[in-house]
Symmetry: C2
Subunit: 784 residues, 2 copies
């Protein structure tokens, strides 16, 4: 586990001042750079030691067999796995005759800094070789947000106290040896050397390698080119082979003299384009990067980020950890999505191979809310990606004997890759999550064009799915049976409240969207009768309620299931120590489910129901999923448990900076990092939008003295500045001179001419703060 | 599919008069010989052509990996698979220089006869070689019921119309090439050559091969020895290698002269005994067989079977197909169990590799009722096998965080081998099925000693399992959640009626057994309080009932689930065309579940409930499982639909003789074959025992004019002889001069001095005969 001392707490940087080899994997994830198209883990330039070498291209994957000891109809036969592509980060250094390797000699100084405003990772090393020669190395790396195909590294070596002969080998390496993460020999075989060489070429200062995946037949190109600066004589040569290219730079440095190399990298891949076309594309991109130059790349990087922070930054006064963490999260979510451009946003972004590089409902459920309010163009592109997979989702629905479209539980390209159906296929809610993300985008941006372009078709086909999934019983009540909600410890149940509410929302939203786009709806074959059926199903959807306890059962009968014995079964996460056959029929919860329903479908619950439900589910939630703390933060804040909410917000934000789930090595948790924003903005800011109105209702925990955040709403830019007494709303840039919002459940008008300050609504919790299951109390952040 | 013409309908034989190569696999299963220890498929002596060569030793298996694309805690990692052991059936023949092969030359006559009273398979072939030489071959094969380790073949060749040189090679062959049935390359690799040679030796007329499985490390020995008779000069030599041994017999035959060879075979295996010990064991067994001689083996075989038929035969007048089929079924069930002696009775017996050779709840649920009434020693041994796996079942329960013992869903040796938990681990009822089989044995035989020996411990540990699986809700109602009943199209549900009734029976039976054996119960740590808890749980077990419809839902909420659309989804079996995610939440049933509850827990249902339940479930049952028709037969007869019951009885009985499930090639369906007996005896004979009393209540369908069957009950031998008017009970051999039974719901006293004839209870169905789902009407046997 990472302690608070490994990374210095600063508002805009993640700084490491000592190299802890036992945390190499984790730091590689934390220091990963990406623009949503290219992803590079924070591996050391010299390649070794490493935790997991990683360079990824969004949606560049290999197909692998999914084995079943007992197969069933409709089980996916092929999985998709992100592959480690040609590594362009490698810059090896020989000091006289000795390779620079932190495991040998002496590392006199070490620092790595991830700069959240500059968008760079800078490393400084002062090293004494085993023979006693000292060098100072400074490398700065970026993956360009402005130039999508481009990454670059500035690498400088300085001789310290005597003349030093320096040899730098800057490389492209394909099919690196990677520690295997799977124990299935067939799968390991597929991924052992995933890339087939199809071409290589080189010039004096650069090279291009072309490869293709064996089964998925995706072509990729990686190109490099170098600028070299050094006071004296220098020799630069380049060679290349099937899986390698090396530019070698040799020179002598007197004390204080420096060798500076800028390495420009370009990547491209395609399932369609020819080898020459892809080769030219990479060559052009690397030339473009050289033309822009290092300083130019740095400048455009900063400008891109300045623009982002201007309307996304969150300021958390009084809690420097959360301050750093929420910006860290925003930065990584942006990195995962900025230039994804109609590709998926994987659960781990492009920071590691966790979950095989798959995208889940995490995207629409947790990441897109943040992006919709802060970088709506990126949200729109992510939604366009989903819409682009609609035909595959239609095929899947047809295979399952359903109408409409069934989007996959996990995928890279759009095909269902989930091999365990009770927590995959049965998690139908992913379809309603997607529909809601389209609707949220329309409401928040005020832009109907995405709906016209592709959203309507998604809404219609998902509504059709729900109608074929649900059914009216003989009493006219509409049920969805055999369904799994967000909570993966309770599966294949009747009437999961979250799913039923979200499905009803999907059905109604589809009907309303059809009225907005009647011609397109007609093309899709939607009739008045079909729309009426959607509304009827939505109106008749069963929402179970336990009158005796005054709480909503998460699904039919949930509150009468066996209670989990937390006194004797407390090894977490439970799924590694207890079988599903025991977890499913017990009142034990992996992650917010009913509680998430109260956040996303806030209008369907009274304040008293919210209070009682939070109290009930807090006592039974293990938070074994990383998709939980943020939601618990929001709803604990909602019902007045502000200190507990602060604890959860902290957990969500620090998940990777403290490696709270012990798997940051596999990549960062994008949904939780986005959830950190949600915890602050929806939790302590009170942001809701499920009624189609911007609703805010701030209230701060004692540990946060002031919270400022920015939102985009229908071309307005809004700043919310809350303290313990009041909140000041500043609105600018909008299409009108005022904006009506809901503050603390009341409508107020905000003028664009001047800030508006209003008092907060004091919140008294109905119930005392609840207990969590033993051993699952959150990390405490409260200031007593 | 096998038509009615492939096998001639005779009361005591299965006779094939033409060799249809397209049905070779199926005929190999039908003509399989076994004694429960050794199993031999009905392969042709010359080895080729074959469907699936198969020689099996009960519980001799190899371990193989169980692959999971997404694994979970508690999933079994290793499977067990029956292996094809050294083949001793092979007797090759050269006619002059041409190998006898039915695919070449001309097969002028062919006959195979399985004799159900002799316990032999006899084959007659009259063949003309491609060169025109004619020979007549007669082979008779048996697997000895009297000498457990022994099989034997009498092989005769006769020259027909000219002098013929005849060469016979009688072989042992290990690691035969077998068509692969799995598409997982790792598993196929394990089973490709499962046997490692550890020794071989030969004499002039015999040989022994010793092998060991690679992973499970089970040692086996196969031995052969030959008697040769021929008029003229003969040369007999034997050779052997690692995987083969051959005795070669060469002679010349004039027309009408015969070569007769008797091949004695012996098999043994052990996980403990040394190589020399096992070698000696096989050598002694083969010597013993020679000592007995062919005629002696034939005689003891017939005596064993005479004794069996004396108290097991069922006579079905008016329905010759069912007459043949029920005897065929009884014969094969006996073959699967007679000398199993504390080994499992697999679902396919030892007739094929279907289900990997695993034993399921089929044994206790379907096979043991028959054996308990007809061959109680075999039932006792099967129960002793279960009890011998108790420690493994305890370990499994502990792994699943449960108390007591959890017996496996499928296994060879006792470890859980089910890789799909919703239809495996969650099928907890297997534990109650086992408990009930112990209790039935005690009631029917009147023998408490098995309970004392091992049954009590099983009852106690399974009762403990139920207590930890179920729970009382806040209203004091006892539920079992997350459970799968017999019907595999509805899984992981609440309060499956079958399971709850069977669990309650298990709990009560355990408590009563503890009172019978107080000392042993105390040793097992059973207290009065624990017994009280068992009884309370049993009394409070929830049995859902739908008052509106007047039927029992199969599980909580079942009658409000979506109805299956049979008009558009009618490709059977549904599991090959529809995903579980769609089947589970619909009112579609694979196999009798609630209907089986009404058979096994008859006392818990009123006649009206039975009638309404049969009517309701008939309309929704696809009979996609082979464990259904027999139960439907019993309960349709119970509620007065006698013609429909006859249809189902016929389906159960003919399942393999007509290949109704299209997988007879993989082995016979022991449960359905046993079920054919149950359909007649419990269906048309009305046999019930769940109240602890022998209850009979015969009523025949129009197509059966007279039904006679035999039962053992507490040392009595009872013959029941029913026609359409009355029934005659004949009781003999018992410990008293009379026996009280329940006839047609009334108690009557049967004297052993003379038969008792009583009138039948006329049965008027409450409801008209129900419809089945379209396409799932049974084969019609009724005589209109």
């Amino acid at each position: 586990m990472i302690s608070g001392n490994n990374f210095i707490v600063e508002p805009w940087h993640i700084r490491e001042t000592a190299l802890d080899l036992s945390l190499l994997d984790e730091s590689e994830s934390l220091f990963a750079l990406s623009n949503g198209h290219i992803g590079m883990r924070g591996n050391l330039e010299e390649g070794e030691p490493h935790g997991l070498p990683g360079t990824y291209l969004n949606s560049y994957y290999e197909v692998r067999p999914l084995p079943y000891a007992e197969a069933g109809f409709g089980y996916p036969e092929a999985g998709q796995t992100v592959v480690n592509v040609t590594n362009g980060k490698i810059v090896r250094l020989l000091v006289d005759d000795e390779p620079f390797d932190v495991r040998y000699g002496e590392l006199l100084e070490h620092e790595r800094v991830l700069d959240l405003r500059a968008g760079t990772l800078t490393r400084t090393a002062h090293w004494r070789s085993p023979a006693g020669k000292q060098v100072k190395i400074v490398s700065t790396r970026l993956v360009s947000l402005a130039q999508r195909s481009v990454a670059a590294i500035e690498y400088t070596v300085e001789a310290v106290d005597e003349f030093t002969r320096v040899t730098v080998q800057s490389e492209l390496v394909a099919n690196e040896q990677v520690p295997s993460s799977v124990d299935d020999p067939r799968v390991a075989a597929v991924l052992d050397k995933p890339l087939e060489a199809v071409g290589h070429e080189h010039s004096e200062r650069g090279a291009i390698l072309l490869h293709r995946t064996r089964a998925s037949q995706l072509l990729m190109a990686a190109a490099m080119s170098h600028d070299v600066e050094v006071p004296g004589r220098v020799e630069v040569t380049t060679g290349a082979g099937e899986d390698w290219a090396t530019t070698t730079v040799i020179c002598g440095l007197r004390p204080g003299q420096r060798l500076r190399i800028v390495k420009y990298l370009a990547y491209g891949w395609s399932s369609l384009r020819s080898r020459p076309a892809l080769r030219d594309q990479a060559a052009a991109a690397v030339s473009g990067a050289r033309y822009t130059g290092w300083e130019g790349l740095l400048k455009s990087q900063r400008e891109y980020l300045d623009d982002f922070w201007d309307c996304a930054d969150v300021e958390v006064e009084g809690d420097p950890d959360s301050q750093q963490a929420v910006r860290f999260g925003l930065f990584h979510v942006l990195q995962a999505s900025a230039r994804a451009e109609r590709r998926a946003i994987p659960g781990k972004g492009l920071t590691g191979t966790g979950y095989d590089g798959h995208a889940f409902w995490d995207t629409e459920g947790f990441v897109l809310p943040l992006l919709t309010y802060t970088a709506p163009y990126a949200a729109a592109d992510a939604l366009r990606w989903r819409a682009s997979t609609l035909d595959l989702a239609r095929e899947r629905a047809a295979q399952l004997d359903l109408t409409g479209a069934a989007f996959p539980w996990r995928t890279i390209r759009g095909e269902e890759c989930s091999a365990y159906w009770p927590a995959g296929t049965a998690g139908w809610h992913v379809n309603a999550d997607i529909a809601m993300a389209f609707e949220r985008y329309r409401i928040v941006t005020g832009d109907d064009s995405l709906e016209a372009e592709c959203g309507l078709e998604v809404l219609v086909e998902t509504a059709r799915l729900w109608l074929s999934l649900g059914h009216h019983d003989r009493h006219g009540v509409w049920h969805i049976d055999g369904v799994t909600g967000p909570d993966e410890y309770t599966a294949v149940v009747r009437d999961n409240v979250f799913t039923n509410l979200m499905a009803a929302h999907n059905l109604r939203t589809a009907a309303e969207a059809c009225l907005r786009h009647p011609d397109r709806a007609e093309e899709l074959g939607v009739t008045d009768a079909e729309m009426a059926d959607w509304r009827t199903a939505a109106d008749d959807a069963f929402i179970p309620f336990d009158d005796e306890l005054g709480v909503h059962p998460q699904c039919a009968g949930f509150t009468t299931l066996r209670e989990w014995d937390f006194t004797s079964n407390t090894e977490y996460p439970l799924l590694l120590h207890e079988p599903y056959v025991r977890l499913y029929p017990a009142q034990v919860i992996k992650q917010a489910d009913l509680v998430l329903a109260m956040q996303l479908q806030s209008h369907a619950f009274t304040p008293e129901q919210k209070a009682r439900n939070v109290d009930y589910y807090e006592r039974r939630t293990t938070r074994d999923s990383s998709l939980s703390a943020c939601t618990q933060a929001v709803m604990c804040a909602d019902v007045g448990h502000l200190e507990l909410a602060h604890d959860y917000a902290y957990e969500a934000a620090l998940i990777d900076l403290r490696d709270l789930h012990h798997n940051t090595r596999d990549g960062l948790h994008m949904a939780s990092l986005a959830g950190a924003w949600t915890a602050l903005v929806a939790g302590f800011g009170g942001l809701r939008d499920d009624d189609g109105v911007l609703s805010l209702d701030p209230q701060l925990p004692s540990g946060i003295s002031r919270l400022r955040f920015r939102l985009r709403w229908r071309d307005f830019r809004i700043k919310v500045d809350a303290n313990h007494k009041d909140v000041t709303y500043t609105v600018r840039d909008g299409p009108h001179s005022f904006l009506t919002i809901r503050h603390a459940r009341e409508e107020i008008k905000l003028g664009t001419d001047r800030p508006t300050t209003v008092a907060l609504r004091p919140r008294e919790p109905l119930l005392p703060e609840p207990q969590q299951p033993p051993g699952r109390e959150p990390l405490r952040r409260r200031k007593l």
